[in-house]
């Protein structure tokens, strides 16, 4: 808190004493942060609580008998008997396999989609060719189509190709493009000055060379950020991976979590196990924030600018 106060004061304005209004405003902001973060704390707290203690150990900030058993049984490190004894349903998450699948899924989409859409966005922003505006108009129109509408026939297509349960099927609809990425990258290329490319053109570089040797290296930072946001979206995908890759060897983390929940009895859900699974699923996100938090936050500034 003291830190953020300093950051605020680093703006040119003079550091002010805390007036009652400002104190109240800070209190509200801190309350918002608590409401935002406390549920995650409670998730961890529950995951560390023995299932048998849940009805009695209700509101203490730290469990009376903290344990790692829930993580162990979710990861399949315990025997089924031990799992059942600790309140489980015998189901495991196969966390590492799902983690691997999620990384492949999100990584492949983020990398390939950003690259291909950068090419297309660049063409729309810089190149002159017949039918450009019409084609771009069609892409923009596609932004309006809700994903479920294309999801149904796409599922039928992927099914008829025999791609259910394969990474080809998982990534197919988004690996080459999404209209949003094309739209967004076009705006991005429009916003950067063309002088450097023009200089390269004077040196005799063709369009492909300009793109590959000048534009891409120059825009590495923003493109990485866009790839990062694409990866976050892909990481969060649920319905499509659940439909196309439900089997163990292609099951991504979100789908695994959903299936793990279905295996837990409705009447008496295995809350401690579920929260342990949720904690495991949130860890990659936490790492992402630690490494790229500033970048992500700052990217929201420039996505805001049209």
């Amino acid at each position: 808190m003291a830190d953020s106060e300093n950051t605020a004061a680093s703006a040119p304005r003079v550091r002010r004493r805390l007036s009652p209004g400002r104190t109240l405003a800070w209190a509200v902001l801190i309350a918002a942060l608590v409401i935002t973060l406390f549920p995650f704390y409670w998730m961890i707290r529950t995951a560390l609580t023995p299932a048998a203690d849940l009805p009695t150990d209700t509101t203490a900030l730290w469990p009376h008998h903290a344990t790692l058993i829930n993580f162990e049984r979710v990861l399949g490190l315990t025997t089924t008997a031990q799992d059942l004894a600790a309140g489980g349903s015998g189901a495991t998450l196969d966390f590492l396999v799902s983690l691997r699948n999620s990384i492949i899924y999100a990584g492949l989409i983020a990398f390939a989609q950003t690259f291909f859409c950068a090419m297309a966005g660049y063409a729309f922003a810089r190149l002159r060719f017949r039918g450009r505006d019409l084609l771009f108009g069609v892409f923009v129109m596609a932004l309006m189509v809700p994903p479920i509408f294309t999801l149904l026939p796409n599922f039928a297509l992927v099914k008829s190709l025999g791609w259910i349960g394969s990474f080809e099927g998982l990534v197919a609809p988004s690996v080459l493009m999404t209209p949003f990425a094309v739209f967004f990258l076009r705006q991005f290329f429009l916003s950067i000055p063309a002088e450097v490319e023009e200089a390269a053109a004077l040196d005799g570089a063709g369009r492909l060379t300009q793109f590959w040797r000048v534009v891409l290296p120059m825009s590495r930072g923003p493109l990485f950020t866009i790839g990062l946001i694409t990866a976050v979206w892909a990481w969060k995908d649920y319905l499509w991976p659940l439909l196309v890759g439900p089997d163990q060897n292609t099951r991504v983390l979100t789908a695994a979590l959903g299936i793990f929940l279905q295996q837990s009895p409705d009447a008496a859900p295995d809350w401690t196990g579920l929260m342990a699974a949720a904690v495991l699923a949130v860890i990659p996100v936490a790492l992402l924030l630690v490494f790229f938090g500033r970048r992500l936050v700052e990217s929201l500034n420039f996505t805001g600018i049209k």
Binding site: R22, L29, T58, F129, A142, I148, L157, P179, L208
Partner: protein, 324 residues
């Protein structure tokens, strides 16, 4: 290659590049002065992957989805045309109208609460701090997969052991079965998503606030305008374009509520109270295998969202800025 860094690497690259560059330049010169006017052929090289993806997974399914909506397709046997029967059926389908009604209920609760809270939060940040840490922390729920967020709140709102009910009983109230009471289920789901997306929305709006020239605030202060007046007379009007954009995108997103509903144990219940349109389409297609009918319902959703977006653009005059 990676060891070569700095100017040396640059020179190496440039040298390696020379031949290809010159030949392209020569080709352009051969085509004469008109070369700069068109990049016809090379443009299609740039566009090829995106075009392929667009044709296969956007255009083709759009046409096919429209076609399926006039058939009895069930994913297993080839589709047969049934004319407009699906559309007639949905006109008389109480579950369809119910789905639209509960979706609308969700959208209203979610969008109103989320926008108001996000605006307030953005304003607080704008007036108090430029801290990156606070912004990162506010972004956390957005980064977490919806399924994990839904699971977490399923637990927090649990009728017997959930933390929220501990709070309610501690405050003298009685425990609520949030997901089993029809009147509470959809508002609960809406609040979960408001919780998840308020920070993200606030950051977008905050970015919009930063774009307003500070000179305007200074003159407002000189004129003796207070906090509230400054907000309503300067901030709000001047960030209208970005607010409009954020609203349009949030409303479209809000109509697509699915993940949270799909993990609640009531599967659209209690008594259809949470069977929103996306979830209804999903159930029609993948649990009842009525793909044709599902496509017809999805077609109507396309139309509804199209009209809604158009209306919002007109009402909010999204594309015009007052700052210019």
């Amino acid at each position: 290659m990676a060891e070569i860094s700095g100017p040396v690497g640059g020179v190496a690259l440039a040298a390696r590049n020379r031949p290809r560059g010159t030949s392209a330049g020569a080709a352009r010169r051969r085509r004469g002065s008109g070369a700069r006017r068109g990049d016809g052929r090379v443009a299609w090289v740039f566009l090829a992957p995106a075009l392929l993806g667009f044709a296969l997974f956007y255009l083709y399914p759009t046409v096919r989805g429209a076609y399926f909506s006039f058939t009895d397709y069930d994913l297993l046997s080839p589709p047969h045309s049934v004319g407009a029967a699906n559309y007639r059926a949905l006109w008389h389908d109480p579950l369809y109208w119910n789905a639209l009604r509960v979706t609308l209920q969700y959208v209203v609760i979610n969008i109103v609460s989320q926008t108001v809270l996000a605006l307030g939060l953005a304003w607080l940040m704008f007036r108090l701090t430029r801290s990156v840490l606070i912004r990162v922390l506010l972004l956390v729920p957005w980064l977490v997969p919806n399924v994990a967020v839904g699971l977490l709140w399923l637990w927090l709102l649990d009728a017997n052991l959930g933390f929220v009910n501990h709070l309610i009983t501690a405050a003298g109230g009685s425990s609520q079965g949030f997901f089993t009471t029809p009147a509470l289920a959809m508002p609960a789901i809406a609040m979960i998503n408001t919780w998840q997306y308020t920070g993200y929305t606030a950051l977008l709006l905050y970015a919009g606030m930063l774009q307003i020239p500070s000179s305007l605030y200074e003159s407002a202060r000189l004129d003796g305008a207070g906090e509230i007046r400054t907000f309503t007379r300067i901030t709000l009007p001047l960030m209208r374009p970005i607010l409009a954009l954020v609203l349009i995108v949030s409303v479209i997103g809000s109509f697509q509520i699915f993940d949270t509903i799909s993990i609640t144990p009531t599967h659209g219940g209690p008594v259809n109270a949470t069977r929103a349109i996306y979830y209804y389409i999903y159930q029609l297609a993948f649990t009842q295998f009525r793909m044709g009918y599902a496509c017809a319902v999805a077609m109507t959703l396309v139309l509804i969202l199209g009209v809604l977006t158009f209306l919002q653009m007109r009402l909010l005059r999204a594309s015009r800025s007052d700052l210019a």
